[in-house]
Symmetry: C2
Subunit: 199 residues, 2 copies
């Protein structure tokens, strides 16, 4: 992403998170990024494109990371732990963008709304496949993988309302605590220790 584009998206996310998408004035955004409307829209498109790019960027990033983790993790429990750390890090690092997403994704229309919801589903499906694979191997309790995964995703996703982005140690510690609880809750045998991190 070009630095100019990144700077515009960051400012737009901060403005939308603060005032809501519908409430946010574009004149204010022009002021904050120091560009006139024409230059602004040259870089991004229109106001709805800004909202779309804010959600799309984070969701595609998370789908990419998790696809890679799922391909490389030694087993399903380790995979859930690594995906959990990656998710909580991202929410802490991009709390503003996730606030905008959860607050106003419904303000998107047509193809943009469809794509953002599809990305959210694709992300949840990665978790569901890992969970279902663990259940099929007799590691996790087999009941209702979709509902179980929506539960653990809720533990993490709800954190955009309270997480403080003050460092990896904290978010990793919280991610590990939630995975300890969740895995102890669903594992059919005693749960293994956290895997070494990949970063």
């Amino acid at each position: 992403m070009s630095p100019q584009r990144e700077r515009i998206l960051k400012a737009a996310a901060a403005l939308f998170a603060r005032e809501g998408y519908h409430g946010a004035g574009m004149a204010r955004l022009e002021q904050e990024v120091g560009l006139k409307r024409g230059a602004l829209y040259h870089h991004i498109g229109n106001k709805e494109s800004l909202l779309y790019e804010i959600s799309r960027t984070q969701l595609e990033h998370m789908v990419g990371i998790s696809t890679r983790i799922a391909a490389e993790a030694p087993d399903e429990a380790a995979c859930l732990r690594l995906m959990a750390r990656a998710l909580l890090r991202n929410i802490a690092d991009h709390r503003v963008e996730w606030t905008v997403h959860y607050r106003d994704f419904n303000a998107l229309t047509g193809e943009r709304l469809r794509h953002v919801l599809e990305l959210r589903d694709r992300y949840a499906e990665i978790w569901q496949r890992v969970y279902a694979s663990g259940a099929a191997r007799g590691l996790f309790q087999p009941a209702e993988p979709r509902v179980a995964v929506l539960g653990i995703l809720g533990m993490f996703n709800y954190s955009y309302l309270w997480i403080e982005g003050d460092g990896r140690l904290d978010t990793d510690r919280i991610a590990d605590l939630y995975c300890d609880i969740f895995l102890r809750g669903v594992l059919l045998a005693p749960h293994p220790p956290p895997p070494p991190d990949e970063e």
Copy 2:
């Protein structure tokens, strides 16, 4: 609550959930409830009062129910299970109101914003007190009760995005599943079966 007032709040919640608080036109609400602006505001106040009443009503209801459950439940695990069922029932029954809350509570100002955030804190504190009491009695693992409770609240609260309000059986089943996972994850001894429901 008077039937007229209840009808106005219900229509306002549906409108705000659909179009966002800032995006929702009051002319549309007048049309939908069949009242002119003056009559509308006579019943509720102004547009921000509508937003405030939508959140306040559900939050006060949940604080009230949970305070009662916490006073009457036989033990901490049973208490968490009953509070969980009550919460998921309420989210399924009032998904529209919770959508408005999470989407636009930030659009509230001054005393109204302060009061809504205080109610949300008071509700979480009821859960935290129950959890801390269980930890003090050696039932639950003692690590980080606040973070643990934010996790289980996340499992439930995130459901406003996906829960279908199609009957008690379903929401109770999901609440029980999440409590099974959470309690198995935090209990220091094997977890007891679900208690009989109080309703």
